[in-house]
């Protein structure tokens, strides 16, 4: 079966010169399920030779906090795609259960954890930027963040990066 890290050989040997080679993603969610997509795209982009920037803002900052990066959760309520009625999701412990179920699926697929993906992404050159107003709002300093964070930047710097003909996404 096709795996995430798979690389199309043609892409590596004959990159089209007119293609965009930059990927700039805003990461605004702090839940386990929405932490995977930006990291998957980032590592894939880096493997394809793209310059990749992740800009963490609002709840997304939780992906960069030493205190929370290991304990990102998935909510069993408010997401009708989860096969669990809201009333069950309310029972204390259900967020933990839903999170554990997702972690198990990930394990079975031999998917790396968020922390491992951050390390891999960082090692392959992905840039990690924390949003400064979000840091202020959450009363955080650089010491609260994992070492993979490159810098703390504002919206101006983000838009400057995004304006350089990048693929832009808000997750």
């Amino acid at each position: 079966m096709q795996t995430l890290a798979r690389q199309t050989p043609e892409l590596e040997t004959s990159p089209h010169l007119d293609k965009r080679n930059k990927l700039v993603i805003v990461c605004s969610k702090g839940s386990l399920d929405m932490a995977y997509p930006p990291l998957m795209l980032a590592t894939t982009g880096a493997a394809m030779g793209m310059e990749v920037h992740l800009y963490f803002t609002f709840w997304g900052i939780n992906m960069l906090r030493k205190k929370t990066v290991e304990s990102l959760k998935i909510s069993p309520v408010g997401n009708p795609a989860m096969p669990m009625p809201n009333i069950l999701g309310m029972i204390p412990g259900m967020t933990r259960l839903a999170t554990r179920m997702m972690r198990k699926s990930m394990d079975k697929m031999k998917m790396p954890t968020i922390q491992e993906m951050i390390k891999t992404a960082h090692d392959s050159g992905v840039h990690f930027h924390a949003c400064s107003p979000s840091m202020q709002m959450m009363n955080l300093t650089k010491d609260d963040l994992i070492p993979e964070v490159d810098d703390i930047i504002g919206a101006t710097t983000y838009l400057d990066l995004a304006s350089e003909d990048a693929i832009t996404l808000f997750i």
Copy 2:
């Protein structure tokens, strides 16, 4: 009143040559309300002559599953824009009620269902791609998917499509 499928005549007769003519959308949500925006944009884009690609990942896969496409729901909790307190949203049956209310509004507007929109989009040339790691995570094979799905691709192929000067969105 202006309707969705309305086309600006100037656009059809004198397309600007320097305009981007490609639309590549990541569909990551499995709820009824977030199923409409990508399909609306896709059919509109196709009607404008754009090359349109939808890449379904994570919960978005539910839009492509035979088993779930007809029963996408909208959650009455965790969305403060819904005029219903969380405590009411917890009552069993409220997800069904909120969903039925939205379906009624859609009906009244003569809005097609998700399945009808998928058919229309497919008939007008919109490409439907399922994300392979998501399929693995959910233990699905091509047989579980509706016939409109073109193929199962990975993040590399998605990024390759997105890099061709497309309008990119993550929904």
Copy 3:
């Protein structure tokens, strides 16, 4: 500390000619936390000299309604990044409490309210577009909207704007 409105001097004095100078954001959420990001990016983009368009659709219409713009809420449930168990979030009044807590953080940072940000954005030239099918679905007319709204447009016009080499985001 770096603030949101901070402008990189080099940007103002020597804009790169090949940079994209247009920002087109779809605003689809009606919650207080997801109302800030598009407005922050919009005002920052406008301050950098960009042409900025905000297209409000689905729940995002609530940001433009006279009746709701002052009372956007944040949900304490369904967002595992919020430090509150779902069961507590169910207690009547908790949405109000979570909203008040966020408003206080914003106040402490001297962050403007959503209404103030909309005014500032409008004054600095940001364009506010309401989505016509969403207006129909919610039974609204132009009179229900705040005066900063420029016009009511459909998906064709939105895609036309987005196709002009803009930075595109779906929030």
